[in-house]
Symmetry: C2
Subunit: 320 residues, 2 copies
């Protein structure tokens, strides 16, 4: 399977992603075998408020990269359907015009059920696409929660879409995301207020203290539904990548991988630690103490962690 | 300090919250002493998209509860300011008319810097307010990410605000939140589309399979800026609380506390586990293996977790 994925075959790649998601035995081994072949693709994060035009812009970007002869992967992170395991927004009309193009691979990821693990799942999918030889991988997400922020941190180049007239509240929400933006897009540039928005963004960026090794983000105006401004956006993204490659690319790449390692470590410690607490027959005791409000959750957790990690023993052994 | 907080003194409560946030030694002990006196307040979660009118509605609810002679705490979870440790949106004009009322305690919490720990910080603040004797505690948050969802799960009664004309995309975002809604508010009920929205919500709720012990949410129309519909909202919230009290209150309360215990446990295991890995002088080795793409982050984390937990030793001892 790993071989077929590396050759860029679509079916095996899609199956591997599904298997990873369903935690089918063997899928993890396959990804392990593929991992040394990752790290080649340019990862582009695209984020913005609902209604900012992320999907349309992504679609236009895909078309532009395809014209350059590049192969493209898209990971669309979607708010999940309200009820049941129903339809996911992304598995719909989106990107339909690319559906017969074997150089484009689109994968939607529901946020539901990914309790804080969204960036882990996204990492897996990106790895598969990367190993399968995609030149560009676009990760599209609604720019809101901490989870989405973690996902965006995976990208080499982060594009933040703003639109005129969405109000101050919206701008504020994306606070965390603003800090990792490399390119700003003012989409729906035909709307009233687009120029004002560009000026506001520009003033904001100038007011900000420059950060070392972090070039000031460019601002690009687009009208994604008509396709205007897309070439300028592609050029701005390329310029950012070149600047990065000339600078701190390797260091940032290490940080990205270290962060992924630590996220997995957090999960692994929690899962195994909790299981050990149950095996030690202590779990119910702690749960009861907290439920009766005899012990607060923080203190109970500190004590439970000590037991799980055998810290008494560690201290005794240190003293010896 | 714990005594002063229990007597409902504002200064000490505010200081304790700050100290907990800054991890000042002793603050945690104070909260531990207060914990047995928590569990009395009715926790109301209020969520909705940006621009739905959460702050205005919260302000009106506070006024209504004050008229009933109840004391009120408000935890406003705000998107943080874009740059630096600057002004937090909530510490501003919001709730100004209650600022001289000692029966109202407002605390804003920035989302920035709370990497996945938003619900832990909110839990601390709610505990302090609860122990200080507040009858009602309103937790207000933008209904978007997983973090906010975790925060909402802390509430006894969750109110989800919808407004006409925000589009399908917005509704979809709140998917996770919809599932935990106890009362729906259609705010800005004077706008076109309000009745359609009520009908859509109602249809959606009827289409949903009823869940055991989970009464179908009420829908209340309000115009928060004019104060209309607030009495009906208070009544709906009260009805939900009574139904809960008659039903699965204790069981849900246990679940809430258990979830808080587990969140703290996850943090504690991660922090201590990571520190142990450094003490064992293995950390750099793992980081390097991942950075060179020799080992994938998941496999490296699994191996690191085994080392931290001394699973070899555990297995040897089991075999003996």
């Amino acid at each position: 399977m790993a071989e077929a994925v590396r050759r860029g075959e679509v079916g095996p790649a899609a199956r591997l992603m599904r298997d990873l998601d369903d935690e089918i035995p063997g899928a993890r081994d396959c990804l392990r075998a593929l991992f040394p072949y990752t790290g080649r693709a340019h990862l582009i994060g695209i984020t913005g408020a609902p209604g900012a035009g992320k999907s349309t812009l992504t679609d236009q970007l895909v078309a532009a990269y395809r014209e350059q002869g590049k192969t493209v992967g898209v990971v669309a992170i979607d708010p999940s359907s309200p009820f049941g395991g129903g339809a996911i927004l992304g598995d719909r009309i989106r990107m339909q015009r690319h559906s017969t193009d074997s150089g484009v691979f689109v994968r939607s990821l529901a946020t539901r059920g990914h309790l804080g693990g969204l960036s882990r799942s996204t990492g897996d999918i990106v790895d598969v696409m990367d190993a399968s030889g995609k030149d560009v991988i676009i990760i599209e997400t609604v720019g809101v929660g901490q989870d989405e922020l973690d996902v965006m941190r995976m990208a080499h180049t982060t594009v933040v879409i703003q639109v005129p007239g969405l109000g101050d509240d919206i701008q504020a929400i994306k606070a965390g995301i603003l800090e990792i933006a490399n390119v700003f897009v003012v989409n729906k540039a035909d709307l009233d207020g687009a120029d004002t928005l560009v000026r506001q963004l520009s003033a904001m960026l100038h007011a900000r203290a420059p950060r070392e090794g972090m070039p000031s983000p460019e601002i690009v105006k687009t009208d994604a539904s008509r396709g205007s401004g897309i070439d300028q956006l592609v050029a701005a993204i390329d310029r950012h990548r070149e600047m990065e490659r000339a600078g701190a690319w390797a260091e940032r790449e290490n940080h990205r991988l270290e962060r992924r390692f630590l996220e997995h470590l957090r999960d692994a410690l929690y899962e195994r630690g909790r299981a050990r607490l149950v095996r030690m027959s202590c779990y119910d005791e702690f749960a009861k103490a907290v439920a009766s409000r005899a012990v607060d959750p923080h203190s109970a957790a500190a004590e439970a962690a000590s037991k799980i990690l055998g810290e008494d023993r560690e201290q005794r052994e240190t003293r010896k």
